[in-house]
C-alpha cells in the first residue's frame, strides 16, 4: 500500500538550491532534440524533443515537428514499428498520416491529431490485437551552459510526467519506465528509449479516443552537482481533433 499526497510528486531535487560544500549549482540546462542538432545548428533544435509514436507500419506520409528555423518537418512524431525499441529514430522514423499540424513555441510543442485517421489505424486496419497499447517515447539532449566552470553539472536525470489529460471511452494513459541518467538522452545515444520513461495509453470499454481528447506531457531534465541542481522542461500537448 502506498501513500497519497495532494501535491505533485517530489522530484527529490530543487531548482537552483545550493547544497553546501562550495561551488555553485548548475546553471539552467537547455534542452535540444538531439546532440547532433545541438552540435550543428543549435537554434533549430532548441526547446524540442524527439518523439516516436509506437503505432503501425501502415501509417505513411508526412510527419514532423516544424523546425523553428526552417518551418519544415524534420524531427518529430514518428513511428517505431510497433514496439521495436531497437529502432533508432531519427534519422529515419516511419511516418504517420494522422498528424494534422505541429507548432513550436519556446518550451512547448503543440500537436494536432486527426482522430478518425488515428483510430482507423489503431482499431480499423486489422493490425493490432484487442488491448493494444499505444506508446509515445521521447529523446533529447541537455546542454550544460556551465560546463567547464565551477557550476558544471555532474549528474543528470530525466523525468516524463503527464501534466494533464482527458480521454474518453474509458481510455487511460500512464507513464512507465525509468528516466535516463545520461546527458545525451536522444535516440542516437539511447536507441528506442531516449529519456527512458515512456507514455502509454490503451482504450477502454468505450472502444475509442474521440475528438476533443488531449494529452499534456512534460519532459524534464535535472542537472545536479554537489552544490545543488537545476531543471529545464519541454511540454508536449497533443490534441485529437
Amino acid at each position: 500500500m502506498g501513500t497519497y499526497s495532494l501535491g505533485p510528486m517530489p522530484l527529490g531535487v530543487t531548482e537552483g538550491v545550493a547544497g553546501g560544500g562550495g561551488g555553485s549549482p548548475p546553471l539552467t540546462p537547455v534542452i535540444y532534440s538531439n546532440q547532433a542538432g545541438f552540435l550543428a545548428t543549435p537554434a533549430r533544435f532548441q526547446n524540442l524533443v524527439e518523439m516516436a509514436a509506437q503505432t503501425g507500419p501502415l501509417w505513411g506520409a508526412s510527419y514532423g515537428v516544424s523546425d523553428v528555423a526552417t518551418g519544415t518537418g524534420v524531427y518529430g512524431l514518428g513511428d517505431n514499428y510497433g514496439g521495436n525499441n531497437g529502432f533508432s529514430v531519427p534519422p529515419d522514423p516511419q511516418r504517420t498520416t494522422y498528424g494534422i499540424s505541429m507548432q513550436n513555441t519556446p518550451g512547448a510543442i503543440l500537436y494536432e491529431v486527426d482522430t478518425a485517421d488515428y483510430m482507423f489505424n489503431y482499431t480499423g486496419a486489422g493490425i493490432y490485437p484487442p488491448g493494444w497499447e499505444d506508446f509515445l517515447n521521447f529523446g533529447a539532449y541537455a546542454d550544460d551552459p556551465g560546463s567547464g566552470t565551477a557550476s558544471a553539472a555532474t549528474s543528470w536525470s530525466w523525468d516524463v510526467t503527464i501534466v494533464g489529460s482527458s480521454f474518453s471511452g474509458g481510455a487511460i494513459v500512464f507513464t512507465s519506465g525509468t528516466g535516463a541518467t545520461t546527458q545525451q538522452a536522444d535516440f542516437g545515444n539511447n536507441p528506442g528509449t531516449g529519456v527512458g520513461e515512456v507514455i502509454r495509453w490503451s482504450l477502454g470499454r468505450g472502444g475509442s479516443i474521440v475528438a476533443g481528447d488531449f494529452l499534456d506531457i512534460q519532459v524534464e531534465v535535472t542537472a545536479s552537482n554537489a552544490a545543488g541542481s537545476s531543471t529545464a522542461a519541454v511540454v508536449i500537448s497533443i490534441f485529437w481533433i
Binding site: 497519497y4 499526497s5 505533485p8 488491448g131 474518453s168 474509458g170 487511460i172 500512464f174 477502454g204 468505450g206
Partner: protein
C-alpha cells in the same frame, strides 16, 4: 507502489461521497468471469489495468472498496463502481427517464440510480454473458420495472415497433466502426442515444446529494477537472 495526484489536479477527499454509486455484489467466479473486490489489502492481486486505472483516473482505493467485473485474460477490468465510471455515465444521469434500454449489465452500476430516478417507467437490460447474469442479477438493485434479456446487444433482434425514451450503450465497444454500427442499429428506436465514456460538453453534470441519495446538478456545473 504509491499514488500521487499530479499538478493542477484539484482532487479532494470529500468527493468520495458525492461522485459515485456503490454496488453490493459479492465476490464470485462463474466461467470466465469474476466479481472481485479491490482494496488496499489485496493490492498485490489487482488486475494490472486496475493498478494503472486508479493512478490515471485519480481514484482513491484508500477511501472505498471497489467492486469490479473481470474476465479471464482480458486486458481491462470491464466495469467498476468508481468515480470515473460515474463521470463517464454523466450523459445517462441527464437522460434517464421513461422507458430505458441499457446494453450490458456489468455490475449493475446504473441500476443504483435508475431504481430511484424520477420518471423511470421501465428498464430493459441486455446482457450477453450468462456468467455475468449468474453473478450479478440476483444481487443488483432492481424492482418490477426491470427486465433482463440474455442476448448480445450487437446481434439482438430488436422487436418490431419497439421504442425507448433513452438508450444507453454500456457494453464493450471495440472501435469507432463498432460505434457506427451500434448507432445505426439503435438510433431508429429512440431520440436519445448515449454511449458510455462520452461525457464532454454536456449541459449538466450531476453529483449525488449526500443526504437524499438523489442526483443534483453539480456546483459549479462542470465535469471533473481531470477527466
Amino acid at each position: 507502489m504509491g499514488w500521487f495526484v499530479e499538478e493542477n489536479m484539484n482532487w479532494s477527499e470529500t468527493y468520495d461521497k458525492r461522485y459515485t454509486w456503490t454496488v453490493e455484489i459479492p465476490e464470485s467466479q462463474v466461467g470466465e468471469h469474476s466479481i472481485v473486490h479491490y482494496t488496499p489489502e489485496n493490492e498485490s492481486d489487482w488486475h494490472p489495468y486496475f493498478e494503472r486505472y486508479v493512478m490515471a483516473r485519480k481514484e482513491s482505493p484508500h477511501l472505498k472498496k471497489y467492486t469490479t467485473l473481470v474476465r479471464n485474460d482480458h486486458w481491462i477490468t470491464i466495469m467498476q463502481d468508481s468515480f470515473t465510471e460515474f463521470e463517464e455515465h454523466q450523459w445517462l444521469w441527464g437522460h434517464a427517464t421513461g422507458d430505458i434500454l441499457i446494453t450490458g449489465l456489468g455490475i449493475g452500476f446504473v441500476n443504483e440510480w435508475l431504481i430511484k430516478a424520477p420518471g423511470v417507467k421501465s428498464v430493459t437490460i441486455i446482457e450477453k454473458n450468462q456468467d455475468v447474469i449468474d453473478m450479478v442479477w440476483d444481487h443488483c438493485a432492481k424492482d418490477e420495472r426491470f427486465t433482463l434479456i440474455h442476448a448480445d446487444a450487437d446481434t439482438w433482434e430488436i422487436p418490431e415497433e419497439s421504442s425507448w425514451d433513452c438508450i444507453w450503450i454500456d457494453h464493450e465497444i471495440s472501435s469507432p466502426t463498432h460505434i457506427a454500427e451500434i448507432t445505426d442499429k439503435y438510433q431508429p428506436y429512440t431520440n436519445n442515444l448515449g454511449f458510455y465514456g462520452q461525457f464532454k460538453n454536456l449541459d449538466n453534470y450531476y453529483e449525488i446529494d449526500v443526504d437524499s441519495g438523489m442526483l443534483a446538478v453539480r456546483d459549479p456545473n462542470q465535469k471533473l477537472e481531470w477527466m
